[in-house]
Assembly symmetry: C2
DNA sequence: CGATACCAAGCAAGCGCTTGGTTTGTAAAG
DNA sequence: CTTTACAAACCAAGCGCTTGCTTGGTATCG
């Protein structure tokens, strides 16, 4: 059996709410643990290089037993993406609500996305970005609906800043540039390198000359 | 035999010079044609999803015949990266020489990189960025030497702009952000979408508030 | 005539996934 | 409190296929 693990996702209330609504798998449960390990493996090695035997070994079961929980390997990838985007959308909405000005909101968005891409908890966001083409067209369509909601959060803030003249570039272009810039951090940023994610956020703000 | 193709890489003098020095394979020759097709396939489908049979079919030979030109599949990936970086370094150096101010130089760098990432001719730059982890550690080290030269071109300009107070972020952080932002365009930018690469460059400049 | 470029065939390994059967947790029935 | 029943979770084995790569032989050409 996939051993139940002592809850170290320390009581995140947002996560708990989503688990209660059955929108995200409990990370202490079998399915949740598998998805978490899958996210880490997919991020580190890529979807194609990760075998079902790797996935099974990561949670201590036989490869065939995986297919008791998921019908295909791709279904695992899709589940990682769907649950990740749900969690991060919820986290972001809360961070936005806590920010007053549009500038603060943009900073909150940047910090949130950095945390979800490079952080320990949300290793799956990078998967969502870089393994997109590994997903079949049919599965992509399903995830896209959720993704649009997420992107809306960004565009609303950027469009507001553009209306104020603070941002000069086209919001949708700028968002895509930021997507690339922030997700790319996963390849080079290391938390123990003397630079915190808050520092990194400040650097992005400085680059955009929004301070 | 890999059919020699009528030279449609229309007499690019930089390319010709590199071919003459044996630093880059002639795209009209067998090896060059293969590398070009490989770059396209790797960019579009990813290294892992591209099989040696795909590569062979793209140039009209049997899969086994590939190994007459390259010892392993990975050697093809490395060759694509090495030749790409050599070509793009040369192209960039020329573009830099033609620019007067540091602002103009940065604009030239951005436009060059966009062209090499999304353009028809240099489809391989995206491979260099996104298939990096598919390369073995040993091969990475070899390519890294060339990559450092390329990155130096960027850092020199950014450090100069930082010294002038035009750029507020740390140059090396900013370069990495730009790497991500620019390479990510390969996933969404389409040349026939009403936006030229020059327009896109302007958007980046506007985002950085350098106009 | 020798080197170069290729083909036809196929090997060993690894892939995603299936199968048939066993263990384990749960809960009602005796 | 035990027994019985059953579904969910898992294992051991392996199937069919694809993968990167090898081999032995054959054209082609200076």
């Amino acid at each position: 059996m996939i051993e139940p693990v002592t809850q170290n996702d320390n009581e995140n209330p947002i996560l708990k709410a989503l688990v209660a609504e059955n929108l995200v798998s409990d990370p202490a449960g079998a399915r949740g643990r598998l998805l978490k390990e899958a996210a880490r493996l997919f991020r580190d090695k890529g979807y194609e290089r990760t075998t079902v035997r790797d996935l099974a070994a990561a949670v201590g079961i036989q490869s065939g037993s995986l297919f008791h929980h998921f019908r295909t390997k791709e279904e695992i990838l899709k589940a990682v993406m769907v649950e990740t985007i749900r969690l991060n959308t919820a986290v972001m909405q809360q961070a936005l609500a806590a920010a007053d000005t549009d500038r603060d909101k943009l900073r909150a968005l940047i910090l949130c996305e950095l945390e979800s891409i490079t952080g320990q908890t949300g290793e799956a966001m990078a998967v969502l970005v870089y393994e997109w083409r590994s997903l079949s067209a049919a599965a992509q369509a399903g995830v896209l609906v959720l993704r649009d909601i997420y992107e809306r959060l960004w565009l609303d803030v950027l469009e507001s800043l553009a209306a104020q003249g603070v941002v000069k570039a086209e919001p949708f272009v700028m968002r895509r540039m930021l997507t690339g810039a922030l997700s790319w951090t996963v390849t080079w940023y290391r938390p123990n390198g003397g630079m915190t994610l808050s520092d990194l956020t400040d650097q992005v703000i400085a680059m955009l000359r929004l301070d």
